[in-house]
Symmetry: C3
Subunit: 340 residues, 3 copies
């Protein structure tokens, strides 16, 4: 169903192949030779299409789907309409992601370096990289194998990219070291000066920012997001962390592994996030704080204190979720009394 | 009064011509041959200048203006100083906008394609387009007639632009279809991957984002704003909607016609805005919500529930305006009692 | 300690030279000939290194440092470990900034104009400028002496840069006049259309934005920040003001001298900030307001009224800090009573 002007479809693939690639078990192994040509939502799917059911809310659509095959949990497998091949998964959404990536793989590097790119003679570009028109790569930069760099992106002196990175268009990377298979979306800015000044009535003096940005494998960074380099220590983004659009990460921040940071969030200087922290959209965390592993910050919250591991905080100034909602309820009660 | 290093002035124009172009009636038709050379604010205007009065707050400036002519409402027309020609309008600000655009038209396409642009041989560029230096246009993109594309912008494979679009500098457009006369300001990012992951302790798996961004005629998108493409369905921006700078529109969002979205607002995934919705600056709307036609969200508010059509909501969590301010007043009263 | 792939170190410098450059007095003038090779944090410093103590919190690290020399206040000078040369300063952080800039000077202009730049024949580029690949400079732009412009930046028609400006990569400058020694970071957008429309049910008509952006000497503007030009009057940023990443400054805003505006702040149209105003991260100021000299707006606050000079405001709607915290405390007391 994807518009093929924009999305390149691979396949078809046999259900056996799909099951293997997507961590599923085909309920009826005799159907392993069926060939799927595309993925589609339950209500849109037709002949040759593979669909999935994750949220039980869509159960009715599942029961009525015209898909050829469907990825579902073991519990729901029995509800499949007649004639729909069933791929059983412990995590149907994850399995769908794997299957969809089979049909619509991320744009691969094809080894073509545009004549319109400007690559310094001392830069080292790995085998098989695609470098778009207008890309500028500075002295002694090291680009890993099979990276794809979209047009008009600027990669500064000494920057290091691991293998298989994808860097969008109009991006700027300076003073940073990226792991393997990092994805950085259009317009992101990584590695510029942190906001460090010796403030004073005679003028604010910029303090040289002598650190770097270190980015782990599989990190995903959204469009127009900004990550400043450290002032002396490094700014660090842990492996597998995913960051949305228009996020601000200040100098010296350490973000752990597997964090999820939604759009327009801001993390102030020298704050540390443990692993698997979740920040809702437009949330903010003040500087020099520690947010424990697995903590969750609700959207638009403003965190002004350390947050213990595993807790969920809400509001401004942010407080534990239960406390916040209890107080809000108590307040409403109080106010309604006040009226009578 | 505009600095002509930056603004190209056309004209002069006769008051008759201006009245016609700006939906005004000249109070004294004998003055139709007067020639205006420029527009200016009431207090700055002088010989040959056209000004306007919209906000009654500036009545005194109107009474003292040295302008040659002035656009005003019928009610205020009688207050014009002697010798000032009066153009009567039902909507003086709108009329001023039309008149000012006569003197300072939006930069037109001039048919010049820079030798420094990189245009794929399979792209289709309409007649009369201006394409700036460093612009990169991908395979099979379709650019309508008379579009103007400023330098270093990247237009991805298959992207479609209607006639008369203006695309600023350093913009990235991918996976999107634009109507006619769309304006996209410098650094905006349209059509990149939505923030969709199958989350899990073994790593967050990106879910292929197979939709597009569909943008209606006359839409205006601000600088460094980000609009993600849909995950399967499309992200849609309705005709005539205007979006300010640094706004985030997530995947699958539907924005109706004629909406006004102020700077740094964030609309989360799959939320739908009806027509003529207004979002104040730094406001946020959670995902999967419905904001009714004509609703208004106050600046910095955080919307966590559906908002009925025509209502105005404020605060976090956002509530109807009257309720919000009533509660705030009751709270202040309660607190002042508490002190005594 | 800085990674020399990214940071170019100058020196070594004698302590006498450093003391002079960094507004310090060497405690023992006999040590003026000692040569320092680098700067480093107290705990990391070793042979030949210069460090500093500003925050008394790090007193223990100071007492244990292995640095060759250290910048400290007169009060702390006596606590220096034996063998550490002492440079006494009234403002050790400021002195460190000066000393560090000696070792790690801001990238200088080297007079190299890339063959990959597109410079209009009518533009005037001063002596000694560095112009990166892919830079586009429009007609009649005036670039001062010794400016450095990083790759893929676009400078529009008529734009003026004072001497010694640094403009990052992928920046867009239009309709603006910059003073001397201005720094604009990667991806910032200066001078585009303000968000001005004559709203109406038949469509929102863009109102021509006929002003400029005027930027004073020594101003610092962060990555992906947006500053719109005025609608008629100019948007003004005063001398020495420092602005962080992802900030929005709307049309007609006047920002005084020496202000500090943290990341993701938004200043709405026609608002005026006095000198030395401080805005915390993610704060917002509504339109047509006046924020007095030396006022401070706390992070995430939403200002809806004029703020008198010197006051500190917090919250939404923002109120004076003392009042805000007093009310919050009273509220908590009230709620805890309600429970019993």
């Amino acid at each position: 169903m994807a518009d093929l002007r924009f999305h390149h479809r691979a396949g078809p693939y046999s259900l056996a192949r799909i099951a293997e690639a997507s961590e599923c078990v085909l309920a009826d192994s005799a159907q392993g030779g069926y060939e799927a040509t595309d993925v589609a939502a339950l209500q849109d799917a037709g002949e040759g299409h593979l669909s999935f059911l994750d949220n039980p809310k869509y159960k009715d659509a599942f029961r009525a789907t015209k898909a050829m095959a469907c990825i579902v949990s073991a519990e729901m497998a029995g509800e499949a309409p007649k004639g729909v091949a069933v791929l059983v998964s412990k995590n149907p959404y994850r399995s769908y992601a794997l299957a969809a990536a089979l049909f619509y793989p991320w744009p691969a590097a094809d080894g073509v370096v545009s004549g319109g790119a400007h690559i310094d003679v001392t830069a080292d570009v790995g085998a098989g990289c695609s470098i778009g028109a207008g890309v500028v790569i500075g002295p002694k930069a090291q680009i890993g194998k099979g990276c794809r760099i979209e047009p008009n992106t600027v990669i500064g002196e000494g920057v290091v990219l691991g293998d298989g990175c994808w860097i969008g268009a109009n991006v700027t990377l300076t003073h940073c070291v990226l792991g393997a298979r990092v994805r950085i979306h259009n317009g992101a800015r990584i590695g510029q000066d942190g906001f460090g000044f010796a403030l004073g009535p005679k003028g604010h003096l910029p303090v040289p920012q002598l650190g770097r940005v270190m980015i782990g494998d599989f990190v995903n960074i959204g469009a127009n997001t900004t990550i400043d380099r450290g002032a002396g220590p490094d700014t660090v983004i842990g492996m597998g962390t995913v960051i949305d659009n228009l996020v601000q990460i200040a100098h010296n921040v350490k973000v752990g592994k597997g964090c999820v940071i939604a759009a327009q969030t801001g993390i102030s200087g020298s704050t540390e996030l443990g692993d698997f922290v979740i920040c809702g959209g437009q949330s903010g965390v003040a500087g020099h704080l520690s947010i424990g592993t697995g903590a969750r910050i609700a959207a638009q919250s403003g965190v002004t204190k350390d947050v213990p591991a595993g807790e969920e905080w809400v509001g401004f100034p942010a407080a534990p979720r239960r406390e916040y909602w209890k107080q809000l309820a108590a307040l409403k009660k109080l106010l309604s009394k006040g009226k009578s």
